[in-house]
């Protein structure tokens, strides 16, 4: 893969694009936007494969984090915010919430998140799906920073039980 072999990259795409698309979709919500992000993610994987360090973790973990970071960057980009604003207007016009929104509650990470206690779930959503820092979450939720860290860690440990 590091030698940028076309076949290997094709295999990588076939094998992982579905899972990564699922994660991206759960962050950016819109399939169109998620497709753009996934394209950017695979091009980044192609470009940055040299910086992948097998000693620091598995390839999937590396790609997963690239996907999540790209999704959160998209979430915060001006273009995305404008498109969401337009989306809201459209939603209001047609009085529907489901025009382009895909129902993702039953799939992927969200499926596992749903099993968490609400106070744990909100922390993971803010941290993992919205990309807020522990400090920001402490402000939003008005709880001490140390508590945020502890609760997130406990929530993750709980989430892991559900992953199995």
């Amino acid at each position: 893969m590091k030698a940028r072999d076309d076949q290997a990259f094709s295999y990588l795409y076939d094998h992982y694009s579905g899972s990564l698309f699922s994660i991206i979709l759960q962050i950016v919500k819109s399939p169109e936007v998620a497709a753009d992000v996934l394209q950017e993610v695979f091009i980044n994987i192609w470009r940055k494969i040299e910086s992948f360090d097998p000693l620091r973790g598995r390839l999937f973990t590396w790609m997963l984090n690239i996907s999540r970071n790209a999704s959160i960057d998209m979430l915060r980009s001006k273009g995305y915010m404008n498109s969401r604003k337009n989306q809201e207007i459209t939603d209001n016009v047609y009085g529907s919430d489901q025009v382009t929104q895909t129902n993702i509650d039953g799939i992927g990470l969200t499926k596992f998140l749903g099993k968490l206690k609400p106070e744990q779930r909100i922390l993971i959503e803010l941290a993992y799906l919205k990309g807020y820092t522990h400090e920001e979450i402490a402000q939003i939720e008005d709880i001490p920073l140390g508590t945020v860290k502890t609760r997130i860690r406990n929530a993750l440990l709980q989430l892991r039980v559900y992953l199995k």
Partner: protein
């Protein structure tokens, strides 16, 4: 905190999912390096996560793959690929390593050549230095000799210039074996010291030496022997209180008590 407690603290999950702070990440990586069990725990969670999420796929748009590959293809075209049997093979990494290897070899070779060059320069400099040092020693030696000669000349000249000196010229005697011979006695009228300047005398044979005689009351008195091997034959001989004339004969080495009259080369009378 033991590695076990550390593993169970939730750091593994935070790190893998990208939710740990930079400080926690740095600490976790150090713990991974230090403790095999932390590394194993990380790997175990990564596998679980991967297996779980691989079952949660959503199909991205079908056209996306070709879009990605065409964009990558354009990027590849920007770098010159090696085409072998129609299949593009990129060699950025290996090629780069090869370039680096080649560059290091060239640098190494360059360094070796430079060192050889510098070594030669050094050897040449050392040789030049030795040569110069030898020349310098020789010049110093020559200078010493000239200095000595100069002193001799100055000394001689000083005596010759002295107004106290009586000058006795001794031309070749009528019966001289070398009639064109000539010598001069400088006789200090006060201290009575006698100096001899050889103007012209043939070189004596090996076992002979010239001897100066003072003629006192008609009888020859030994005034000293002298050699001819010096550049300037201006030599101080014996002090003679009183004399009417001076003469030089060739005697056996070491001098004689009475002169060999057959071998009288020069003679001159004291005037005034």
């Amino acid at each position: 905190m033991t590695p076990q407690e550390y593993i169970l603290s939730g750091i593994v999950e935070s790190y893998v999912l990208g939710l740990a702070s930079p400080e926690d990440c740095a600490e976790f990586e150090l713990m991974c390096d230090a403790h095999q069990e932390v590394r194993a725990a990380r790997n175990a969670f990564e596998l679980e996560l991967e297996q779980s999420l691989l079952q949660q796929k959503m199909q991205p748009p079908r056209a996306l793959k070709s879009r990605i590959f065409s964009e990558i293809g354009m990027e590849k075209d920007e770098q010159p690929p090696l085409i072998i049997s129609g299949k593009p093979i990129l060699i950025p990494r290996k090629g780069f390593a090869r370039y680096v290897a080649a560059a290091s070899l060239i640098l190494l070779l360059g360094s070796v050549l430079l060192n050889l060059y510098l070594l030669n320069q050094y050897k040449r400099s050392i040789a030049q230095y030795k040569e110069l040092a030898a020349t310098q020693t020789q010049i110093a030696g020559d200078n010493q000799i000239r200095q000595t000669k100069l002193e001799t000349y100055e000394n001689a000249l000083g005596h010759m210039k002295s107004p106290l000196m009586a000058i006795v010229k001794m031309p070749g005697a009528p019966s001289s074996p070398a009639p064109s011979s000539m010598a001069t006695v400088y006789w200090n009228t006060e201290s009575k010291e006698v100096y001899l300047l050889v103007n012209q005398l043939p070189m004596p044979v090996k076992d002979k030496q010239y001897q100066l005689w003072a003629i006192v009351d008609g009888r020859p008195v030994d005034a000293g022997i002298f050699d001819m091997d010096k550049d300037l034959s201006f030599v101080k001989l014996k002090t003679i209180p009183k004399a009417e004339a001076f003469a030089i004969t060739l005697e056996k080495k070491g001098g004689s008590i009475t002169p060999n009259m057959d071998a009288m080369y020069v003679m001159g009378k004291v005037t005034g």
